[in-house]
């Protein structure tokens, strides 16, 4: 899956000089708009992901309270912000873009999301479980155990939405864009799934944050 850039007739890494009188690509002319050359998995981001995951493992293995809190709070904050930003801000903006602009944005944006989101989820949940265990919050005897179980259920629903709908749509869009003739209607449909599910998980994250801040203040 890494480094799957394939040159296709519609990919426009370096735009060639247009013929006299020809319409600019994707400006209402015939045929699909140009798709910039891109890698489905941005290989340059993999060392960063590896560094974050190694940091997470070290934090868990050392049971360092600051490190666990950092990974959990930073990961959760970024995850929530990104989801809400995607669903409520970026989604409507993308909907108003022209198809060529939307295609170009998607090819630059979606590969990065393929690395960022799973990393943030692993950071938040891995560190969160260990932090709760370290503080004794996982125990049934913890006075607010019911709230914690409620947060498990919310995170569980979010995980099903993210892994069952959001990630498959993300990947399917990228592979569609790699085709010599991408199907715009399909890309639009899959992007809608991606943006809507990101928005839904973002809203569910607010419920998680309400519970977490309530627990942290007890």
């Amino acid at each position: 899956m890494t480094d799957t850039a394939v040159d296709t007739p519609v990919q426009a890494d370096a735009p060639s000089a247009p013929e006299p009188g020809a319409e600019p690509p994707g400006a209402g002319g015939h045929g699909p708009p140009p798709v910039p050359n891109f890698n489905i998995v941005p290989v340059r981001g993999l060392p960063i992901v590896a560094a974050v995951l190694i940091g997470l493992v070290v934090a868990i293995a050392s049971n360092n309270l600051w490190a666990l809190t950092f990974f959990h709070v930073a990961g959760g904050g970024l995850w929530t912000s990104l989801d809400l930003f995607l669903g409520l801000v970026l989604g409507p903006i993308m909907g108003a873009m022209s198809v060529p602009a939307r295609v170009e944005f998607t090819t630059r944006f979606m590969p990065k999301m393929l690395l960022i989101m799973p990393t943030l989820v692993a950071m938040t949940l891995g560190a969160g479980f260990q932090l709760a265990r370290h503080l004794g919050n996982l125990d049934v005897a913890y006075p607010h155990h019911g709230w914690l179980v409620a947060s498990y259920i919310i995170v569980g629903v979010m995980a099903v939405i993210a892994l069952g709908l959001l990630e498959p749509a993300n990947l399917a869009v990228l592979f569609e864009l790699k085709k010599p003739k991408p199907n715009g209607e399909r890309i639009g449909r899959l992007m809608k799934v991606f943006i809507y599910t990101a928005g839904i998980t973002g809203l569910m994250q607010i419920a998680t944050i309400l519970i977490m801040t309530f627990l942290a203040s007890r």
């Binding site: 699909p32 293995a61 799973p118 996982l138 569980g156 995980a159 990947l171 569609e176 715009g184």
Partner: protein
């Protein structure tokens, strides 16, 4: 986000061969999502009982259901005749690797925390199914829209 169809250039959104093939494909995604729900529910039930003698009957049943669903899905996919198999295997391989790393980190956490053996067995079983089910979903959802000769 508004639909892309309203502003598509001519020839950019018409049904293609992949659209026509969709009706012949089995219901892989609903079964895979049901598997994921069973695995996640099982995990939540065990985690909710942390710190006391846990009743593991329901998680065991859910894990059994999830196992049957994964096997059923694998058979469903295996029996597809017209499919972009090279793409499917390529995505499956990389996704299995990625999710094995994620599941491995979680197993490490449970082992490191001295999780009781009977719980650990269930957690590992769940993580194995999770690390198979999600890559199956990803690879199927990519390959279903690819031309049969795609690499």
């Amino acid at each position: 986000m508004s639909t892309a169809t309203d502003t598509l250039p001519p020839g950019f959104g018409e049904p293609d061969a992949e659209d026509l093939r969709q009706a012949d494909l089995p219901p892989v995604m609903p079964i895979a999502i049901a598997t994921l729900i069973a695995v996640v529910a099982s995990g939540i039930i065990i985690a909710a009982q942390y710190g006391r003698a846990a009743n593991l009957t329901v998680p065991r049943v859910l894990l059994g259901v999830a196992l049957l669903l994964v096997l059923f899905n694998a058979v469903q996919i295996w029996r597809i005749k017209q499919f972009a198999w090279p793409v499917f295997y390529r995505v499956l391989g990389w996704a299995l690797l990625a999710y094995a790393v994620i599941a491995g980190i979680l197993v490490f956490v449970f082992v490191y925390d001295h999780t009781p053996a009977r719980m650990l067995v269930l957690f590992v079983g769940m993580l194995v199914l999770f690390a198979i089910d999600v890559p199956l979903m990803l690879s199927y959802s990519v390959a279903r829209w690819q031309p049969l000769d795609a690499r």
